[in-house]
């Protein structure tokens, strides 16, 4: 037992103090102070975040934290969003649910991202957790409306059901009707990913009308415009709403009904959806625009003039997602109207067309960086950029913490000078000292990585594609970026040397993804031998990497640290150093 000083606090008091410390980071620090704090903290930890479901086993988590109420798990690596991870790779949640069903009867929140969730898992959740409240399935797959029906039927206290961007199979079950008539607790419902057959509109209306606490409602595409107005009238207390398909031609009765419905919604702060919207209907939302803080128009094919009009009605906007139809002129209007803007994402309307179909250039981003003093987070797709613009942006906005630039065509150079963008991105990392996420694009040499290694000390996630000249580039990043957690690389000439030299660094990171680079299977095996706490997975659908010539490089490589050892659910196209890994069980 550690010595107790006169001023020291009892366990109960400490536990009470810890209850006011909720951030993951601070909780981890508390557990590392001394043995007694470690013990106290682990018993009162209620929320767990596991960034990589294979880094630890459910048994380990349960052993250390016996009283968890809320868990968040992530499965596949980020590049799975770009179809770089083959189907069947992994990320199954059932083993976790099975263990937690026994150990955490009071678990009330499960949040999953990029995991494979089966109906069996959903049924197990419905059965095992009596007070279940929150289910978030982001970018998940593997389940159908049958599983949803089980949740709806059993979870009497469910508050949040969020299926954002998941793939749901339609089993023709009217799952919404499985919410009993006595069920009234819904606060947040996101079914925007569901197809038209999967939502019974009458059941939805009944559900909305009996849930007075409903604050966030994101419907799917198939809800027609007049129905939208009905729903809004049933739930004027909504704070977040995803609007639906707008019909082709303007009808004044539909319009006025919609406008009236919107004007009732005094609490509305966030709008999204807008699929196939006809600009003539946009004025229907003008009554709520002045209070809007978040607007997602990334599905709306409205052109710049209408966008400018809309944006000029939204002075409180903090977050905007939009297509490149907004053009430089629209971004300039944004910069002058929306002084509270914190996050901007501009997506390409037609990324596969070589020619730009909208006049969006680096100028738009420069304007926003100049006009919006609170801008912190940027995701920007464009076709042309200059070092000068990047330097200006960096100098204007040193408070940026997320900067993701996607110059659509790989290896595009500075359009003014023909130079690579080393200097531009160098300025970004040098000025933006709090940068935690960065995506690179355009023509880049090893120099940019030298800058990144030198300046980007707080960088946690880096995405690189078609960049660099040699292993030196990767070496700079691995040896310089002290806070690096996730590194994802594709189509870069990085190979064995940088990887092996910085093997120890990999254990301090969450994961490294390299595809279409120059890493050999020999190096992978070597790395795996040297670093037992790393799982080194070679993903190669062409066949055993051993069967190819020695200097042949691996297709995809996913390295992540783990205290759980090698996983037992690897598909045949994932190769590790253990050739005799006969423990390949099917999921």
């Amino acid at each position: 037992m550690p010595k107790r000083l006169a001023s020291s606090l009892s366990d109960e008091v400490l536990e009470h103090v810890f209850s006011f410390i909720q951030s993951e980071k601070d909780r981890n620090v508390v557990s590392a102070v001394c043995k007694s704090w470690y013990e106290i903290e682990r018993w009162c930890r209620r929320k767990i975040f596991v960034g990589n479901c294979y880094a630890v086993s459910p048994e380990m988590v349960i052993r250390r934290f016996p009283q968890v109420r809320s868990i968040e798990l992530k499965g596949k690596p980020h590049f799975a969003d770009f179809n770089l991870v083959p189907d069947g790779w992994g990320g199954y949640v059932l083993p976790w649910i099975t263990e937690m069903a026994g150990a955490y009867p009071w678990l009330d929140e499960i949040r999953l991202k990029r995991m494979v969730v089966t109906d069996e898992s959903l049924e197990l959740i419905a059965k095992s957790f009596k007070d279940f409240k929150v289910l978030v399935l982001a970018s998940c797959e593997g389940f159908s409306t049958d599983g949803l029906a089980a949740i709806a039927a059993s979870c009497k206290n469910l508050r949040e059901l969020d299926l954002r961007e998941s793939e749901v199979d339609d089993s023709s079950v009217h799952w919404l009707s499985h919410f009993p008539e006595t069920y009234t607790s819904m606060v947040s419902l996101n079914i925007s990913c569901l197809g038209s057959g999967e939502v019974s509109f009458s059941a939805l209306e009944r559900l909305v009308s009996r849930c007075p606490n409903l604050r966030s409602l994101k419907l799917n595409r198939a809800v027609p415009l007049d129905k939208t107005a009905n729903i809004l009238r049933l739930a004027p207390q909504l704070v977040e709403f995803s609007a639906c398909t707008y019909s082709a031609e303007l009808r004044s009765d539909v319009f006025s009904n919609l406008a009236g419905a919107f004007s009732n919604c005094k609490e509305l702060r966030s709008l999204s959806g807008f699929w196939d919207v006809v600009p003539d209907y946009l004025p229907a939302i003008y009554s709520v625009c002045s209070r809007l803080t978040s607007l997602n128009l990334s599905y709306a094919t409205i052109l710049s003039p209408d966008l400018i009009k809309l944006v000029s009605h939204c002075p409180s906007l903090q977050r905007l997602l939009v297509l490149d139809y907004i053009e430089d002129s629209g971004l300039e209007a944004l910069a002058s109207n929306c002084k509270d803007l914190q996050e901007l994402r501009v997506f390409p309307s037609d990324p596969f067309d070589a020619e730009p179909n909208a006049s969006l250039t680096e100028q738009g981003l420069v304007a926003v960086s100049l006009g919006c003093p609170k801008l912190q987070s940027v995701l920007y797709f464009c076709r042309r950029m200059s070092n000068a613009a990047l330097v200006t942006i960096a100098q204007n906005r040193p408070n940026l913490n997320r900067f993701r630039l996607c110059i659509i065509e790989p290896n595009t150079a500075d359009y003014l000078t023909g130079e690579p963008f080393d200097v531009g991105f160098g300025a970004i990392v040098e000025h933006c000292k709090d940068l935690i996420r960065l995506s690179l694009s355009g023509l880049l040499t090893d120099c940019v990585f030298e800058y990144i290694g030198k300046y980007a000390k707080k960088l946690e996630m880096l995405s690189v594609a078609f960049a660099g000249d040699s292993d030196l580039g990767l070496h700079h990043v691995l040896s310089g970026c002290e806070s690096l957690r996730k590194l994802e690389i594709r189509d870069c000439p990085f190979g064995d040397k940088a990887l092996l030299t910085n093997a120890a660094k990999l254990e301090t990171m969450q994961s490294l993804w390299m595809s279409s680079c120059s890493v050999s299977f020999e190096a992978c095996k070597l790395l795996s031998q040297k670093m037992p706490r790393l799982n080194v997975e070679v993903i190669d659908e062409r066949g055993p990497p051993d069967s190819r010539p020695e200097n042949c490089t691996v297709d995809k490589l996913y390295i992540y640290r783990s205290v759980a050892g090698p996983r037992f659910d690897m598909p045949p196209f994932v190769w590790t150093k253990d050739e005799d890994l006969a423990l390949r069980l099917s999921p």
Partner: protein
């Protein structure tokens, strides 16, 4: 305490003052309405009839010394007045809480022993704010806490394997031995290392690992044997969650939007990145970056390592001798098909079986 409640109390107790005695023996009298703001004092007065005179002074818990009592009474004196606005109360609290951490801890403990919840909450929140954003070292300094987690536990705070202090002792011993050997080896090899220019290619590295650098067959075998054992131990030796870490918070908890068009540069396959792999001078890479951490054990004299392993095994056996009941417990769980055995690192199997301790 409302007026109605007060009226029910016997007349003898309707004094204006309550007598309190702190652990140091000193006795003082305090205005009744102020003292009764503390549930503990209230309880003593009403349930036990104490506090009415000097002879029947209420003994306060040990953690409430005169200085703390004074502070607490100041707090009670302000808050027991019913007419104050929330703004006033908040403002008072903010000023009240400004004190050094040591006093804040004392005050928290004292308030807790008097069951004065609002003050406990106020002081606890203040302590939480002090703790937030600091490093473990800083926190230890502020609160005068011992630095008693093992090196391994500190480096990877989430990897702590067992709850059993005896197993932790074992870990510590092992870690200490490894460190000692590292020092000894460093001194021995200092000449050798200075000469060694590291321009090994992958093949060289491979052969080094496989022991083809002139060592005898015996050593080669023992090296790979050690590696396997170490790998197994490492896997068994680690627990909890290395990946539990900071959550990348996005504003308002908003996530990425899946726009079907969000593919950007990553979709362009086959657009030739004609990279010219120019030769990189290998001496650019520092010696010390070269596979250090994983390499240590492979460079240790095998005989010495065997000796350490034996020592640890002895130690483990000694620990085990007084664990017959514990063993029974463990064996009866029977999750794993593998037999329980105390290998090199005794905690290997224990970790799997040891259930959460009852508190």
């Amino acid at each position: 305490m409302s007026e109605v409640d007060m009226a029910v109390i016997k007349p003898e107790m309707m004094k204006s003052y309550i007598w309190l005695q702190t652990a140091d023996g000193s006795i003082q009298q305090v205005e009744q309405e102020v003292a009764m703001f503390c549930p503990m004092i209230c309880h003593e007065v009403i349930q036990k009839g104490m506090g009415s005179s000097k002879n029947y002074a209420i003994s306060l818990p040990q953690r409430v010394n005169p200085a703390m009592l004074s502070l607490i009474l100041d707090y009670c004196r302000f808050h027991q007045v019913p007419g104050r606005s929330n703004k006033e109360r908040k403002s008072f609290d903010e000023k009240f809480i400004r004190m050094d951490t040591k006093r804040l801890c004392e005050l928290t403990s004292a308030a807790d022993s008097l069951q004065l919840k609002p003050l406990v909450d106020l002081t606890s929140r203040a302590l939480a704010r002090i703790i937030e954003g600091k490093s473990p070292e800083e926190i230890r300094e502020i609160f005068h806490l011992p630095d008693d987690l093992t090196e391994e536990e500190k480096l990877e705070p989430l990897k702590n394997t067992t709850d059993d202090p005896r197993i932790r002792l074992l870990n510590r011993l092992y870690a200490k031995k490894r460190k000692e050997l590292k020092e000894r080896q460093k001194l021995k090899n200092i000449e050798v290392e200075e000469e060694r220019v590291d321009d090994r290619s992958v093949d060289d590295l491979l052969s080094f690992i496989n022991g083809d650098n002139g060592d005898s067959k015996g050593i080669k075998n023992s090296k790979s044997k050690k590696k396997n054992r170490r790998r197994k131990d490492q896997q068994k030796n680690t627990s909890a969650n290395e990946a539990i870490k900071n959550h990348n918070k996005e504003p308002n908890g908003l996530n990425q939007v899946c726009c079907s068009a969000e593919v950007g540069q990553t979709v362009r396959a086959g657009v030739g990145a004609t990279s010219n792999l120019h030769d990189v001078e290998d001496d650019i890479f520092d010696n010390k970056n070269e596979l250090d951490d994983g390499d240590i054990d492979d460079e240790i004299d095998p005989a010495l390592k065997e000796k350490i392993d034996r020592e640890v095994e002895d130690f483990a056996r000694r620990l085990n001798s007084d664990w017959p009941e514990r063993m029974q417990e463990i064996l009866s769980f029977g999750h794993e098909r593998k037999p329980v055995h105390f290998s090199l690192n005794g905690n290997g199997s224990l970790r799997r079986y040891a259930n959460s301790e009852q508190r």
